[in-house]
Amino acid sequence: MSLLSVQNLKMHFPVRGGVFYTTQAVCKAVDGVSFELKAGETLGLVGESGCGKSTVARSVVRLLKPTSGNVIFEGNDISTQPQSALRTMRREMQMIFQDPAESLNPRHTIGQILEEPFIIQKMGTRAERAEWSVELLKRVGLPADAMFRYSFEFSGGQRQRIGIARAIALNPKLIVCDEPVSALDVSVQSQVLNLLLELQRDMGLSYLFIAHGLNVVKHMSDRVAVMYLGKIVELAPASELYQNPRHAYTKALLDAIPIADPTQRRERQLLRGDVPSPINPPAGCAFGHRMKHPKWEQSVGMDLTLKEITPGHFVQPCPCCT
């Protein structure tokens, strides 16, 4: 059985305005996303900014209440649970944010930040909590005296380590990583990625790993889902997706990765335009619409739920892009 099962998740935001502040349009940030995540597995989620990656992440940990659809974690549907039940559930699922500078309270010492999860969950005595916090710091490779310092005294990489320490404090099963290394330098990035892999091996963590760096996602993930305008257009085992992409958007994304080898310079097929707005998205296949594909019209009104073409490789079955 899978640890996490997301079924037809939709997250629509009303766009209000006008004299009476009425709903003028609906922003369909996430529009029917389904995936499964097994224990100990990493699912990568990639796509351009504005495609709904972060909204999916926030809905999975119920920082946002989905408009419709189910998020089933260990058999419980968390999308409908009352607020009071969420606290126990959040022991099992935690989140790591993109910018560690903004996700750590600047007025708290690192000790206070790391003890907070235990205080919220009413665990341990003061002495025990301090002891656990030191353990956590050691676990992520920081010295114990960091306890008494503030987040601004640390570099970006160290701050991200603190963010990770806080996320693993309660021994969760699932960690949602929302762009955990995008703000870091290359040499520090690999240190943090190694730490995440090591923790996964030791603690059996599952990751929902969101990033726009496709090289990073490939390295971290067992399976990768590609999102475009609120929908998953392709989902496959990582190596399969990168070697044998089937959807035109996946191909375009992969083609745009700069390769750190000057002997492999090449002419690329540039994508024109930007991601369209999720407010009033086009009918049918949104990417076919952007590319003005001649077969796009056939996709309007079609059932675009993902189809399994080879074992484990799912792709949106539109006539224009696959």
Binding site: E48, S155, D185, S187, N194, A238, D255, P262, T263
Partner: protein, 331 residues
């Protein structure tokens, strides 16, 4: 040998702070030839942007100043020019684009007006002509429907379009040198590819030289002719892009290239790392600054004495720390 378009010699830039004078850029030199692209790569805080700012003489005042060195644009030393002469150079000869176009553009003025302002500052022209020129420029950098876009505000444009506006503004007076400071860092890969392609096309059309500052080695590999690798305020390795990637000499360059997750790398395996962190500006060693993170065994002498610069191929040079100087092979 003809005078190069831009030559930077022994540039040192410092900031006066509460804890004394901190040298952010220490003895940087490089040459930029007309029509070429020089990539400057390094981690945050290594002095890439400060170098760029000092070429433009736009260091934050009063804290920042050029301590010594020369910036020669066609033989003219920019560091000694009076303010008004420098103002004519900016835009006309050297222009700059920034990482985050949202903060670089004025949010309460239509983008067209901002381009017009740049044009009118440098050449006397009528408003109508300037407007027409702005529309042409926007079309040139690939903004669809420029007649409408001139009247739009920055928030109405996407990140890629904003960066195009910045480029249009920078190129409005045909500069000889364009400094692009992390121009695509805030953008998606697909848009990044568009912007890099645009820069290349504009460079071919105008023959301008580009200094491309980035931390992304992929971008460097795809767009630059020459590379300067900066670490902790100094250039540690410099040369044409092919030998730098094929035969990096400095352990820092080697480490940077190695620790990138590559697409053909076995997934979920431990990545090579550069351990530790950049030393603080406050206690920067006089000698090799990479020593504390260097995988090679070395004596403490390398920390105390400045390590010599050594050429190891045509145009390819490296700060030859004693820990690897004997192994340098000509490329």
């Amino acid at each position: 040998m003809p005078t190069p378009l831009l030559e930077v010699r022994n540039l040192r830039v410092g900031f006066q702070t509460d804890v004394g004078l901190l040298t952010a850029v220490d003895d940087v030199d490089f040459i930029l030839e007309a029509g070429k692209t020089l990539g400057v790569v390094g981690e945050s805080g290594c002095g890439k942007s400060v170098t760029a700012m000092s070429l433009m003489r736009l260091l934050p005042q009063p804290a920042g100043r050029i301590l010594s060195g020369e910036v020669l644009l066609e033989g003219r030393d920019l560091t000694k020019l009076p303010i008004d002469a420098m103002r004519k150079i900016r835009g006309n000869d050297i222009a700059m684009i920034f990482q985050e176009p949202m903060t670089a553009l004025n949010p309460v003025q239509p983008v067209g007006m901002q381009i017009i302002e740049a044009i009118q500052l440098h050449e006397p022209t009528t408003p109508a002509k300037a407007l027409r020129r702005a529309v042409e420029l926007m079309e040139w950098v690939g903004i669809p429907a420029p007649e409408q876009r001139v009247n739009e505000y920055p928030h109405q444009l996407s990140g890629g379009m904003r960066q195009r506006v910045m480029i249009a503004m920078a190129l409005s007076c045909h500069p000889k040198v364009l400094i692009a400071d992390e121009p695509t860092t805030a953008l998606d890969v697909t848009v990044q590819a568009q912007i890099l392609d645009l820069l290349k096309r504009l460079q071919n059309e105008t023959g301008m030289a580009v200094i491309l500052i980035t931390h992304d080695l992929g971008v460097i590999a795809e767009t630059c002719d020459d590379v300067a690798v900066m670490y902790a305020g100094r250039i540690v390795e410099r040369g044409p892009v092919y030998p730098i990637f094929a035969k990096p000499q400095h352990p820092y360059t080697q480490g940077l290239i190695r620790c990138l997750p590559k697409l053909d790398h076995p997934p979920k395996t431990t990545l090579p790392v550069i351990p530790g962190m950049v030393p603080s500006l406050r206690d920067m060693p006089a000698g090799c600054r990479f020593a504390s993170r260097c995988p090679n065994p070395h004596s403490t002498d390398v920390l105390n004495t400045r390590q010599p610069w050594k050429e190891c191929g045509s145009g390819h040079g490296v700060e030859a720390c004693a820990c690897f100087a004997s192994q340098i092979s000509a490329s």
